[in-house]
């Protein structure tokens, strides 16, 4: 690391190029910021410095760059953005590491597959809607005590634990070539509700994404969750289901939690194959 190495030439400044956008549907534009170098910064603290500065490198006074963040320890996914062309969390993106790869500048862009609300803040509702589509939960709504759950085999636990680490950040879908941006505009004669309905319909038809496929596999492998396994597989074979996967495997390559998404997709492939054949003969 540059910071810990006293012999290394420390830069005086850090150039940060930010892709900004004033509001939904507006034209994005680039701005260059220049902040003083400090050791051991992460991208969040860089954005804090920029907000405090509110001045571009050529001295123009501008509104602070907007971004989203939550936990600051890579478990909430809120601060996900494209850093130097690669989607990741800005809290765990360490500036000294970034400068090692590219000393000239750090490039910050919003995620590419979600509608931009402002600057680096995006609307990720579609991501969560996909989890609803595949019923990524354990159905325990009941008035009655159902007793203790089935014991889980150690092998099952070991298979499930990595999948349970998914924080729904959206890196996988952002890097996926089969997951395309859906950005609708509210029509003049449309109520808020009608617009939301239209939006959800558009999301429902489009690819659910690797995260949802993986979560479906997690809950299909859960002793109680598997009671609605068939419904999840129905959702995965519906329009926008697993068939839209193109096997580019970017999801597994960019996942910050190193979740074996290709394994989940292959498992879902096998499960949907068997499910569909069974259904076809039982009709």
């Amino acid at each position: 690391m540059i910071a810990l190495d006293p012999a290394a030439n420390r830069p005086q400044f850090i150039n940060v190029r930010v892709k900004r956008q004033d509001g939904p549907g507006q034209e994005p534009y680039w701005q260059l910021f220049k902040i003083d170098y400090e050791p051991e910064l992460n991208v969040i603290s860089v954005l804090q410095r920029i907000a405090a500065l509110s001045k571009t490198s050529d001295g123009k006074k501008v509104t602070p760059v907007v971004w989203d963040c939550g936990c600051l320890e890579e478990v909430c996914g809120a601060c996900t953005m494209q850093i130097n062309g690669r989607v990741r969390q800005s809290c765990s993106a360490l500036v000294d590491q970034l400068l090692k790869d590219n000393a000239d500048e750090i490039v910050l862009e919003p995620m590419s597959k979600f509608p931009v609300l402002r600057d680096l803040m995006v609307d990720r509702r579609r991501l969560f809607k996909a989890l609803e589509k595949v019923k990524a939960w354990v159905p325990v709504d009941s008035y009655y005590n159902m007793g203790p759950g089935e014991r889980q085999l150690r092998a099952t636990q070991e298979q499930n634990y990595p999948l349970s680490q998914c924080m729904s950040c959206g890196c996988c879908v952002d890097a996926c070539p089969q997951y395309n941006k859906i950005e609708l505009e509210r029509k003049k004669d449309e109520t808020e509700e009608e617009f939301k309905k239209r939006e959800e319909k558009a999301w429902d038809k489009a690819f659910v994404g690797p995260h949802a496929i993986s979560q479906a596999m997690l809950f299909n492998n859960h002793p109680t969750g598997k009671s609605i396994a068939g419904e999840r597989l129905d959702a995965l074979t519906a329009p926008g289901g697993i068939q839209a996967c193109g096997n580019a495997q970017n999801c597994v390559a960019v996942c910050p939690k190193e979740i074996p998404l290709t394994t989940s997709i292959a498992r879902a492939g096998r499960a949907t194959t068997i499910h569909t054949i069974k259904k076809w003969f039982e009709k």
């Binding site: 062309g85 690669r86 890097a175 070539p177 089969q178 395309n180 319909k201 038809k205 074979t237 519906a238 329009p239 289901g241 697993i242 068939q243 839209a244 996967c245 193109g246 096997n247 580019a248 495997q249 970017n250 390559a253 960019v254 074996p260 290709t262 394994t263 997709i265 292959a266 498992r267 879902a268 492939g269 096998r270 499960a271 949907t272 194959t273 569909t276």
Partner: protein, 297 residues
């Protein structure tokens, strides 16, 4: 009831409703019959390097169904191919390649799979037109023969193939075939690997790594076979063609007598032979006029 109205407006199409099954069929047709057929086809063609007889015997066997052959060709090859290609173009259009942004090997493979698919489609159209002709109606075949298509004569398999490759200065077609065949091999092998994910055949990363090894080995073997097939069609000279034709004719006549080959003059290379004989006659004629006293007939 504006809701039900808007629902009925956007009633999903047959394709949307059955997209899962249709895309599974797309995956299946890529392997059986198309991929399997390609393996058999390339191996058969590579046998030309062995001898003219082995290749011609294989072609006689392929043509043994006689009048049923077009049915097999269309049902087992052309229609699955058209389906696979048509849906493949649609699938390619649903994605946005980003392999310049995310330069992972598997992402590049994704992009290449689409490009080799397009190359294979154009190449296979040219290939079928160049040799097979598509529809075996006599008028059509005669018409396209004049512009260099429909050149293959199954009962003179080797010789008509080599002749056909020599059209266009003997460089254009060999180049097209080399690129096209290699694109097809890549598309098949990579498609085989991804089909393992699609169908859930190899699931764990270890299983996928083993599958990669198997597919690479298969790809190497198939590449060698396809290069052998290519070499067998490209390297023989004009003199070889005459020798090949003599062997094929001998096999045809003997086959017809023994009943192992269905008699069919249309499948013989009569047009190519006529052209060849003309040129031979012409050169013979020259020799005759300069050398012997034999009267020119």
């Amino acid at each position: 009831m504006s809701d039900s109205n808007s629902d009925s407006n956007s009633e999903p199409s047959f394709f949307t409703k059955h997209e899962f099954a249709i895309r599974r069929l797309h995956s299946l047709t890529g392997i059986v019959p198309l991929g399997l057929y390609m393996c058999v086809h390339l191996t058969t063609n590579a046998s030309l390097l062995g001898s003219v007889e082995i290749f011609q015997r294989a072609v006689f066997l392929i043509h043994s169904p006689g009048p049923l052959l077009p049915l097999i060709e269309w049902g087992g090859i052309f229609l699955p191919l058209l389906f696979h290609a048509g849906l493949g173009i649609w699938i390619a259009k649903t994605g946005r390649s980003n392999s310049s942004q995310y330069q992972f090997t598997s992402n590049k493979r994704y992009t290449w799979q689409r490009w080799t698919g397009f190359i294979a489609l154009v190449y296979l159209f040219l290939h079928v037109m160049h040799l097979h002709g598509g529809i075996h109606a006599e008028g059509w075949m005669n018409a396209i023969y004049k512009v260099g298509f429909g050149q293959f004569s199954p009962y003179n398999a080797g010789s008509s193939l080599v002749d056909a490759m020599n059209l266009g200065y003997g460089i254009i077609w060999p180049a097209i075939y080399l690129v096209g065949v290699l694109a097809c091999v890549y598309h098949f092998i990579n498609g085989l690997w991804t089909a393992g994910i699609t169908w859930g055949l190899w699931i764990s990363p270890q299983a996928q790594a083993r599958a990669t090894k198997v597919c690479v080995a298969l790809g190497v073997v198939l590449t060698v076979i396809s290069l052998a097939a290519w070499a067998g069609a490209v390297f023989p000279s004009k003199d070889d063609v005459a020798k090949m034709r003599a062997i094929e004719d001998r096999m045809y006549e003997a086959g017809v007598v023994s009943g192992t080959v269905l008699e069919n003059e249309h499948k013989r290379d009569l047009r190519g032979r006529a052209a060849a004989e003309e040129s031979v006659d012409a050169s013979d004629g020259e020799q005759a006029s300069t050398g012997t006293t034999e009267p020119a007939s």
